[in-house]
């Protein structure tokens, strides 16, 4: 909005009645302009912070996802390795401890060695600290 330049008397009582013109650059900003600026900057900063927070959360999820993949692989290999010493009708023990915060389990439970002629399908389940879960099937066989 164009603001009118109003001549301002310096000294109205002066006999000389001198007048000067105050330029717009000397007027400063109005409260509305400042409020608008603050609101716009606030929205921008909020959006930026929100993006950063989302990126941080996504990074945590990503890290857990990579770790959960590693835990799943290690658990699967430990299970298959344990079955290598199986005998028909026996049981096996998986020597694997997941990292802190992670849980690993297999279904069916019981760690029964498969019959020689009947391999068994195991469902492996791994849970990460932030609730990320993964499941995978493996097949075990008595050698």
């Amino acid at each position: 909005m164009q603001r009118a330049r109003t001549p301002t008397p310096i000294n109205p009582t002066s006999a000389s009645r001198r007048w000067v013109t105050r330029g717009r650059g000397d007027l400063g900003d109005t409260l509305v302009e400042i409020l608008f600026a603050v609101v716009i900057i606030g929205i921008t900063v909020a959006a930026l912070m929100s993006s950063l927070a989302n990126a941080g959360n996504a990074a945590n999820v990503q890290r857990n996802s990579v770790q959960i993949d590693l835990v799943m692989r290690n658990y699967a290999e430990a299970t298959k390795s344990a079955v290598q010493s199986c005998v028909d009708g026996g049981t096996y023990t998986v020597a694997y401890a997941p990292p802190a915060g992670f849980t690993a389990s297999a279904t069916p439970t019981g760690n029964q060695c498969p019959r020689v002629s009947v391999p068994v399908v195991l469902q492996l389940n791994v849970t990460a600290p932030l609730g990320v879960r993964q499941a995978m099937q493996i097949r075990i066989r008595t050698p």
Partner: protein
């Protein structure tokens, strides 16, 4: 004397505002792209892992099938022995096997034939596994004197992602 044009810089505010919005948008877009890329990489990792263990599982099944055929005459060396197709971890895998030629000299000096079988697994396409498509190759020895197989020994087991 001319008066300086004090309104000449008024447009700069708009340019600065647009620049700020563009900068924030670029940063947000970059972060979103980073997250998306990471998640895509994770999906690829999971797919590769699932395929690896699917091939592993189907070859285990194939080994059991070959073990059950211990009473039948052996096929010629190098000739296809059979195949099995199975879907595991939501991935269809084809496992093929062929007999490998092998002998070993026993403790008494006699030459003993070895029953070694080479297994190859690949994503199922409805036809035989192409060499470039093989994701798992294994060689297994079947211990067998007379009658049924008593034990199997994995001699090699390698994956290609």
């Amino acid at each position: 004397m001319t008066r300086p044009d004090v309104d000449r810089d008024r447009g700069a505010a708009l340019i600065l505002a647009i620049a700020l919005v563009v900068m924030v948008g670029a940063i947000s877009g970059g972060l979103a792209a980073l997250v998306t890329s990471s998640l895509n990489n994770r999906s690829t990792l999971v797919l590769v892992r699932d395929r690896e263990y699917a091939a592993d599982a189907v070859v285990e099944q194939a080994i059991t099938l070959v073990r059950a055929q211990s009473g039948t005459p052996l096929a010629l060396c190098g000739t296809p022995g059979g195949f099995v197709v199975e879907t595991f971890n939501s991935i269809a895998i084809r496992a093929e096997w062929r007999n490998a030629c092998g002998v070993i000299r026993g403790s008494d000096g006699t030459v003993v034939a070895q029953r070694n079988v080479i297994f190859s697994a690949c994503p199922s396409t409805g036809s035989a596994c192409a060499e470039a498509a093989v994701v798992l190759r294994a060689q297994v020895n079947f211990e067998q004197s007379t009658g049924a197989v008593t034990r199997t020994y994995v001699q090699s087991w390698s994956f290609r992602s």
